[in-house]
Subunit: 487 residues, 2 copies
């Protein structure tokens, strides 16, 4: 069994050539990030560019240099824009150059984080524990890195379900439960929790959406009554989901109060901290999320306010045993050995849906070390202060209207000019937003509150300066006036 002539590989035939290309890519990438502010935030992709992506499966090679050139010509110039200082759409992070380098290094060494005895698992274990320290949960808490909060919430709901089940739900299914499980959150809860509860087989009718107060925070009295009513009706209350930063307005539920209710009612207390869990790092605002440390599980996103490049989320679960009991399944070919690569005490694949898992921990580990967490905390305070100032400006300007209180970094407002019906103002602001995008000046997004269409600026952006928000206000006033003048 000797060398076979003609054996091929995906390694480059010419390493120095690929090396030169990689250096060029690094320069282009750093130029791209360094010059972000000089570009339009967003611009539409021209149809002739889109047409380029309908070519059939490439059977023949074009080589790395030509493939890279296609990226430079057709992909790099038509981006979403969330690296830009004036991108405040939905809720995203910007990423960083060093974070991107982390993904390159992770893909270079390319370990599989499903399990085994290799050092990358130590990196992830450490990063998960750092996340635990951020929210202040006790040392016995475990968890794992996931694609983002949708998956983190899914994992937590699966554990809550199996932990509450009075039968072996893994074997017999949810139809075997003597009483249906019921879940609670405010009406402002993120849609991914409904998705999780549907996928887990409970049906969205088992998900009670509890009324909020004027600040869009869950009403604990209504919650308590809902729990009692469900027990009365023969259902089994399972979990309460607290919001640490709702997607619409950034509202933070009274987490300490929810923890107390869950303690009293013996329910699983989960916090969706996709947006706001990391506020625990911010010296001026950490009191907002007080009580998060009492949760049974927390979902958090590192690719939002901590600006780790996509994807990086984390789920923390206080009861490691319950967590493992939900996901562990060890077939013969994965049995852990005593020594060798197949050893290792705890395999991450026993704690989530994925078996093969990438080394997303590395970019987090590198970034946390690069900046230190105190700086992230200051940047969170900085964004909240920017949002507060934007809200003040809106309040002070009679042609603008603030549509929700600002407690975090999300500002919902609209142009009202001389006023008009709800339908008129909705249509005006909807068109105004599109023109803002098309102008390339700023990208807020939108939501609807009480039937009112809002411009919504979610300032989770380490590149935003005070002056950027002035540009937004100017553009909104200019665009609003122009639209108000039209018939």
């Amino acid at each position: 069994m000797n060398e076979t002539p003609g054996e091929e590989t995906l390694d480059p035939e010419d390493w120095p050539q690929l090396r030169a290309l990689a250096h060029r890519a690094v320069d282009d990438a750093l130029d791209y990030l360094q010059q972000t502010r000089e570009r339009a935030v967003w611009r539409p992709t021209p149809p002739e560019v889109v047409a380029h992506f309908h070519a059939p499966l490439p059977h023949a090679p074009q080589g790395a240099a030509a493939a890279y050139q296609d990226f430079r010509d057709w992909v790099m110039p038509w981006q979403m824009g969330n690296t830009h200082p004036r991108f405040w759409g939905w809720y995203m992070g910007n990423g960083t150059a060093f974070g991107a380098l982390g993904d390159f290094l992770a893909a270079t060494v390319n370990p599989n984080m499903g399990g085994g005895n290799h050092v990358a698992n130590e990196v992830e274990t450490q990063v998960v524990d750092w996340c635990r320290q951020i929210v202040g949960m006790p040392p016995e808490t475990g968890g794992l890195l996931v694609s983002g909060a949708s998956m983190a919430n899914f994992v937590a709901m699966a554990v809550a379900r199996n932990h509450a089940a009075t039968v072996d739900v893994r074997a017999a299914g949810v139809a075997s439960l003597p009483r249906p499980l019921v879940f609670y959150a405010s009406t402002e809860v993120h849609s991914c929790l409904q998705k999780a509860i549907e996928l887990l087989g409970h049906g969205s009718r088992a998900f009670r959406r509890v009324a909020v107060d004027d600040s869009y925070r869950i009403d604990p009295e209504v919650l308590t009554r809902a729990i009692a009513a469900d027990r009365e009706a023969g259902a089994q209350p399972c979990a309460v989901i607290g919001n640490a930063g709702t997607i619409n307005t950034g509202a933070v539920d009274d987490l300490a109060k929810l923890a107390a209710i869950c303690h009293r009612e013996k329910l699983w207390f989960h916090v969706d901290g996709a947006i706001g869990a990391v506020v625990a790092l911010a010296p001026n605002h950490r009191q907002l999320v007080q009580g998060i440390e009492l949760a049974d599980s927390v979902a958090l996103d590192l690719h939002k306010w901590l600006h780790i490049p996509f994807e990086a989320g984390c789920v923390l679960v206080r009861d490691r045993k319950a967590h493992r009991a939900t996901f562990s399944l060890t077939p013969d070919y994965l049995k852990h050995a005593q020594r060798g690569l197949a050893s290792g005490a705890d395999w991450f694949s026993d704690y989530g849906l994925q078996l093969t898992r990438g080394f997303r921990a590395l970019k987090v580990w590198l970034s946390f070390k690069e900046h230190g967490l105190d700086k992230y905390g200051r940047l969170i305070d900085q964004n909240i202060a920017q949002a507060m100032r934007l809200a003040e400006f809106v309040r002070a300007e009679p042609e603008l209207e603030l549509l929700a209180p600002v407690s975090l970094n999300i500002v919902c407002f609209r142009y009202r000019g001389a006023g008009g019906s709800q339908a008129q103002l909705n249509a005006l602001n909807e068109e105004l937003l599109i023109r803002l995008h098309e102008s390339g000046v700023a990208v807020p997004s939108y939501t609807t509150l009480g039937g009112n269409y809002c411009l919504r600026a979610a300032i989770a952006n380490h590149r935003t300066r005070g002056a950027d928000l002035s540009l937004l206000i100017d553009a909104v006033l200019r665009g609003g006036r122009e639209l108000a003048r039209q018939p």
Copy 2:
């Protein structure tokens, strides 16, 4: 609202310094990959290295250069080893240098692939369609990129469930189904399908594991009888899962036969092609997976036999409407606009669990263009030929024993020497495997077939040469003889 003094950012204070560091990282990474063959495949992480990962949350910054140095000192040298030509453990890909660069570029532009009108969605749409062309499904087929086959299988099972449900299962849950849904696969099916079925709320008892023949392929007669028996008993057969390459032995079920059964019985036909779907690219072996194109859904992995760096999987679903109906949930803040960034016909987040999604499509797009798919096909043939030759060598060597037929690229064998009881041979081979790992010469993994512990070489490796397999055989014989001499 002017510039506020003291505003901070995560951007480097000194761009040229970060640029120099990035160039250094590129050189180190390319050295790492170019010199892979010269290293031990694997070596244990020393305790003093592990200890390094117990430091608390870093509050203070250490800067990019020092963080990178920590990676070089503590992380890079202690890897899993699956970049190495003699890594054949579990079932992994090696990755490539250009693929790693793709992850860097993706994280640099950092778009969110949940939706919106930006060109990265065109890249993913094209890559998904290329995957469809690989397996030969019809043009109306949709899909999305996911973390890997565990998630691809989960998505497919969710769609199959909701499509089969005679009630609104998203609203009312699986407990509302008049007849419980039942799923079928062979006893060799991957554990992630059990995980999916459990998580979806059916319970593993709803998952029928059908007997296999001597080649570890599902027995269609037993399957047909099981379906009939379930109908008889009042259950509702939902889906049959065909294996295109089982994890234990690489067996490929008769997919055309399974498609015919599903057609006749009106069941969802899903193929778990994590390992073998891409065999459709291989000129000498594509007939093995004939029938895959008839599936309602296919799960495939691009980070296995196509060597895209982790994570890259794909799910294909023929019925786009059923796919979307399972996952779509559009809250106010995600309503699609007519123009601007928030427009775009189809949002990927409506087809899976994740809302925020990274740009994993880019590394696939770049790699497919770099090499062309014909080359991937030849490399798959090359690995299968290597496995066949390894099996021949095992058959020809009286001290070794082949424990399963080799139909693809997985070889299960053991050292038997002069023979012994099952318990003795199991203990010997278990220790032999650990010593192989510890020697750094080769990393196969293991499984158990009929109670026999096997060494298991899964040759999905674009760097493996014929001579590497000779080294494996030599090391197994040497190690086996040594152990056989011991009391």
